[in-house]
């Protein structure tokens, strides 16, 4: 066990509220009659369906393929029939719908033929990445970035450290904690494969010190694998948001990821513990990513705990299984109390990024209207990205988006620490999210107008050319006409001459 090297600026000590959901082992959510699978459960392009309505599918069968580079496949979580490919409500803060494949399950849960890899150490990094991509694996920590891309450091980088993120710093959430306690061996399977593919020199498993059972389980599993050299468990202090990628790298290695850079720029690749487990299942068992562990907790949940849930299972059924005091259509939080968002609506499916469903938060602050900013600067002192939330707030509010970028708005990880400490209860993160999406929208529009300009200019050039060509043709025709006229006249004159000559002869 190693000690962390450094620390990150700001952050908060928050009450964990994790006991509630760690009293019982991981349970399997019962199979739902209907599974709704959004085609986009990851960052990047939505997957393309490869089945049609009425098709019979088996558990683990690919139902949509990756479309483009930043995209992953999607698989049937259970056997059954595809009953619809259409727009369905998805768990998104907008409350909008998106294309989904709906499967009616047959209850048999029959697997498609699986192809486990006998010996991954004989495989090339490329082959392993391909399997990970085909298995539909994305970062299970919450962002959902396709994992195979992070497994490809490129020829210019060598991976010094593979960092496994087991911080799980946000209150209430405990899915990684339970996974480490119960399936430490499975996680290490994945870690070995990742390390082989990345050729990482050393491996660090970082876990917060509020998870002693997870730490000891991981230590035990690690001790049983003496061949896994240069691998250590680093216990990091519990402080929010130490689980953020850039924060945990700073804590564990003492290195800071550059503002517009990636961890690989400083020789580090980090993955979530759940992702490592999924990689192990995909390679060693031939199982694609079709389920995840979801924490269901909160003051209104009777049997809080962690549930291994198939993707597409309606959240309402999961809540029913865990028994809640929630009224139908009462809002709940997807994610944690700090970074999650409110959802209402019952028929929303569990997706690859759904780590926690929170119904009822203890000591939740009453919703009050914000007071004016008093420039106390508390927000800046807790910001883990060393930003100036106050300045960002003024500029976002005034819609001076250029200035927000001067203050590095896009380095904000939306952790919510500034919101938490603001004495005026200003919803700072809401302003930052607003400004970010506005800027992205402007960028999209600029791209569109650039394209429109290009098309307009080429159209004008084309019309100009057509006009010129027409004129040229007319000119040629006129010239040809004139030439033939002259020829005719000449011929007529010659004829007349010969006629004259003939006349003279006679």
């Amino acid at each position: 066990m190693n000690k962390p090297l450094s620390d990150f600026p700001g952050g908060l000590k928050l009450r964990g509220h994790k006991k509630r959901s760690t009293q019982t082992p991981i349970r399997k959510t019962p199979l739902s009659d209907k599974l709704i699978l959004p085609l986009q459960q990851h960052i990047g392009a939505a997957a393309m369906p490869v089945v049609s309505v009425g098709d019979k599918v088996l558990k683990g069968q690919r139902i949509a393929r990756a479309d483009g580079h930043v995209s992953v496949c999607l698989h049937a979580p259970s056997s059954g029939t595809v009953v619809a490919i259409d727009e369905q409500a998805i768990p998104h803060p907008s409350g909008l719908s998106a294309p989904c494949i709906t499967i009616e399950t047959d209850g048999e849960d029959q697997w498609i033929e699986r192809h486990p890899v006998e010996n991954f150490s004989e495989m090339s990094a490329h082959e392993i990445r391909q399997i990970i991509r085909d298995a539909g694996i994305v970062g299970l920590g919450g962002a959902g970035f396709p994992s195979f891309i992070k497994m490809n450091p490129g020829v210019h980088h060598t991976v010094e450290t593979l960092l496994l993120n087991g911080a799980e710093c946000e209150p209430y959430i405990s899915c990684d904690d339970m996974l480490m306690r119960e399936r430490a061996d499975g996680i290490l399977d994945g870690v070995e494969i990742m390390r082989h593919a990345l050729r990482a020199r050393n491996v660090i498993l970082a876990i917060e010190d509020n998870k002693p059972l997870a730490i000891s389980a991981m230590e035990l599993a690690l001790a049983a694998r003496p061949h896994l050299t240069n691998t250590s468990i680093v216990v990091i202090p519990t402080r929010y948001p130490t689980g953020g990628e850039k924060q945990i790298i700073q804590v564990v290695t003492g290195k800071e990821v550059p503002s517009d850079g990636l961890p690989i720029d400083i020789g580090i690749v980090s993955h979530n513990m759940g992702t490592a487990y999924a990689v192990g299942r995909a390679i060693n068992h031939g199982e694609p990513l079709i389920s995840r562990i979801v924490t269901v907790t909160g003051t209104d949940v009777t049997h809080a705990g962690n549930f291994e849930t198939l993707f597409g299972t309606p959240i309402s059924e999961l809540l029913e299984f865990a028994e809640t005091k929630r009224q139908p259509d009462e809002p709940f939080i997807l994610g944690g109390p700090m970074m999650g968002f409110n959802l209402s609506g019952d028929n929303l499916p569990v997706t690859k990024t759904a780590n926690c469903i929170l119904v009822g938060v203890e000591d939740a602050a009453p919703k009050t209207d914000p007071l004016p900013c008093i420039r106390c600067g508390d927000c800046a002192s807790v910001c883990p990205a060393s930003l100036l939330p106050q300045q960002l707030y003024w500029h976002s509010r005034a819609k001076e988006f250029d200035q927000t970028q001067d203050y590095n708005l896009f380095d904000c990880i939306e952790c919510g620490c500034c919101d938490y400490v603001c004495p005026s209860k200003i919803p700072l993160v809401s302003y930052f999210r607003f400004a970010k999406t506005e800027i992205m929208n402007q960028e999209r529009e600029r791209e569109k107008s650039d394209l429109a300009r290009e098309r307009f200019e080429s159209r004008q050039a084309r019309m100009e050319r057509e006009k010129r060509e027409k004129e040229e043709r007319q000119r040629q025709r006129k010239a040809a006409l004139a030439a033939s006229k002259a020829k005719k006249e000449k011929e007529a004159a010659a004829k007349a001459e010969t006629a004259e000559a003939a006349d003279k002869e006679t």
Partner: protein, 186 residues
């Protein structure tokens, strides 16, 4: 006295030559400010600003002949960025030119289209596909919503529909607006 005059004259000559050389060598093609203004305009070529397109309007702004608030498709955001670029005060949109509307898209009712090609000729960005006496259709990704195709259509088969939002293009609401709606202080 004489040396000073000679020295200064020589200096002036050398500097003059240098300047002359630089003005030829580093000559800037076109008017870069027009390019910059044109880049901020939405390129709908709709003519609502009373100019024949975005570029002529950009040229007029650069020449200081017109205000920056005559572009309804660009709306408040365009006025703001033009004001930033030219370092002038932003103004509200000139209502003479039109009002800012949500983004729209032309859609041809293909049942009613007679294939006259008039809209194809009117589209400034070649976003309508079709041939004489054959059905026409709009390439949705290329349409800028300029409405220039509406007028020439003899059978009125083109409708402007609002661009639907999807989760990827969705924007978080402005929190200060939310507060005003609730009646709180902003």
């Amino acid at each position: 006295m004489l040396t000073a005059i000679i020295a200064l004259t020589l200096l002036a000559l050398v500097m003059g030559l240098l300047l002359g050389f630089a003005s030829v060598k580093f000559k800037v093609e076109g008017d870069p400010i027009v390019e910059q203004i044109d880049k901020l305009l939405p390129q709908t070529q709709c003519g609502q600003c009373s100019f024949a397109g975005c570029r002529p309007y950009a040229e007029a702004i650069a020449a200081g002949e017109v205000d920056i608030n005559r572009c309804p498709p660009g709306g408040e955001a365009t006025i703001q960025s033009l004001a930033d670029l030219l370092d002038v005060e932003p103004k509200p949109l000139d209502e003479e030119c039109g009002v800012e509307k949500p983004k729209t898209l032309a859609v041809i009712d293909e049942q009613r289209c007679i294939g006259c090609t008039l809209c194809i000729q009117a589209c400034p960005v070649d976003a309508i596909l079709g041939a004489a006496k054959h059905m026409h259709t709009v390439i949705a990704d290329e349409c800028t919503g300029c409405e220039l195709c509406l007028e020439p259509c003899p059978v009125d088969c083109i409708d402007m529909v609002e661009v639907a939002q999807n989760p990827n293009t969705w924007r978080w609401p402005d929190p200060s607006h939310l507060q005003l709606e609730r009646g709180g202080q902003a």
